[in-house]
Amino acid sequence: MDGRRNVLIVDPSDETRVVLQTALERRGMQTMAASHAKQGLALARQHHPDLIVLDLEIDPSGPDEVAAPFAEQSRIDHAALVLLGSVRRRQPLSPGEYVTKPYHYAPLIRKIEEILSAKDMETNRAVAVCDSWK
């Protein structure tokens, strides 16, 4: 790891992947992308990204079924989860952010940045706590 934040994009649309990867890399992040859920999950397990963007329509099995293994993985890795879905949900099914399609890219990217900087602050605080133990 070179200290850069690592974002995994799991989306069936090659256009969405291109747009998000281009925009996030411009902001100094490292990105990986997958067009299938299975492939995405493998990448998550292998690379432990800081944030996963997941399109819930990637698989016809249903949004809950698609999200469940990613939610589990993000809990293990303390990774943030941004879910892109069609219908506004009553309650987010995991500690992730829910974004309704069709979305605008600027707010989505801003949200990803906010989540990551909040994570940074948390990590820094954790590091500070660790330091005080010394």
Binding site: S13, T16, V19, T22, E57, P102
Partner: protein
Amino acid sequence: MPSLFVIRGNDQGTRFELEEAILRLGRDKSSAIHVHDTEVSRHHAEFRRTHRDFTVSDLNSSNGTFVNGKRVNQHLLASGDQVQVGVTLMLYTGPSEESHGTIGNSVDIAAQATPDDHSRIIHSVSQSEGSRIFDAHADLSQNSWLARARSNLQVMYHTALAVSHTLDIDQLLNRIMELIFEWVEADRGCVMLFDPDTRRLDPRVRRTRNNAEQGDKIMISKTILDFVVEKNEGVLTSDARQDDRFNPGASILKLGVREAICVPMQGRYHVVGVIYIDTSTSPQQILERGGTARRFTEDHLKLMIAIGHQAALAVEDTRYYSAMVQAERLAAIGQTIATLSHHIKNILQGIRGGSYLIEMGLTEHDESIVGKGWKIVDKNQNKISALVLDMLTFSKEREPDLTTANINAVVRDVVDLMQTRAQEELVELAYQPAENMPDLVFDPEGIHRAVLNIVTNALDAVTDLDSPGRVAVITRYLLEKNVVQIEIRDTGPGIAADQLSKLFSPFVSTKKSRGTGLGLPVSQKILTEHGGKIIVDSLPGQGACFTLELPAVSPTTSSTTSRDAT
């Protein structure tokens, strides 16, 4: 032309046509209606046109003017009314009616029987007894019974045919009324149906025998209708006086007799309406028939009940069918809208992504990002236009735009168009045109669209495969069958057996966000318009093969079809 026909008195047999707006009746020679009756005053009565009929006014005559046996000062006549002055009895006939008028105004339900209406129910038969129409009668000889039974059976058979051949209620009821008129000597008839919402009886079909001299309106007594509907019994009514009915010598017989049959239309669940027919027998006709006025019999009544039942079942059936079709249509519209909005939403998402990149590239003065964004916008713009074209092709009944062209060239265009995408996705797209392909008459734009949709599907099927995919496009000209074939074969996952039947159903797509569900139906429609077809051959796991086959129409032999080739 309204008229007065003298049926009794010195002028018996004379017909006075009521041509003028006002006519005077009297013993005076100057009277338009000059009667030779000593009991009639010189200036006895006046007939004045009121709308289409006439009003009779008594001119203070010594012996009075009677309508239907009642003394009147003034009375609006209706067809069939009997006017009596002195000993002269005349039958009033109103203007002849149009065969097709507004039905609503031509049938009236009389709230109460008019005092002059002497109609009584002389027979009533329960709806459930209608099935006994073929019962043998003891008083009939075997042969005549058989002949009648056969004729009845024929009527029922034709009714059943009519019922099975149409889904339009009015058309059906018209046909049934036609059948009734062919079979029974009815002068007028109507079918009334209950409005499902208001539960009111609405006249739906009305029929009059051409030569019938009948009143304008069919008046049906509400009492009789209520009886028919509530008791669910058919009735046979007659206004002939009981004592005189079968006595040819009786004077009252000369007034004519009106008979009517009114039956319920008993469906599976409800009485949906009534069928009514009536007939008037004039004095002359009674004489011609050897003194009997009865045209409607209990047999007629029973058969009418059976017909009413058939018609009611058909009405119910048609209504349920329409309701079902409507429900299915609504469901289909819902599915269509869902699929379309999903597809449009994806296009919108693509355009937003492209625009975002363009904006970013412009802000950062990075042309490569602008180029990336533009490519996405452009692609989605093409998707929108393809969607609109598909929707138009699918929604319209259209004639193919026939012109002379070469199928090989049209398919070549499609392959060239898709080659870029195939290369991007590392798919091999091969084309093998027929060497013997002649110029033919077809719609090049339509065939281009049909082939493009299927090549796109084939590319979609082989993208994201573990092994490199392959799509082969082959054209053939089969001289012996005189057809052209365009074969598109892919090495994709194939089509599951349960999906084959839904393949050409519109708005059904297995391609998730990529498909509109319009591609195959549109291609099929274009081929059908050309008199061709699409043959699908696929086994799961072994790829799919779509063959577009259309008749080879040569430019020289297609003078009738190649309207654009000139």
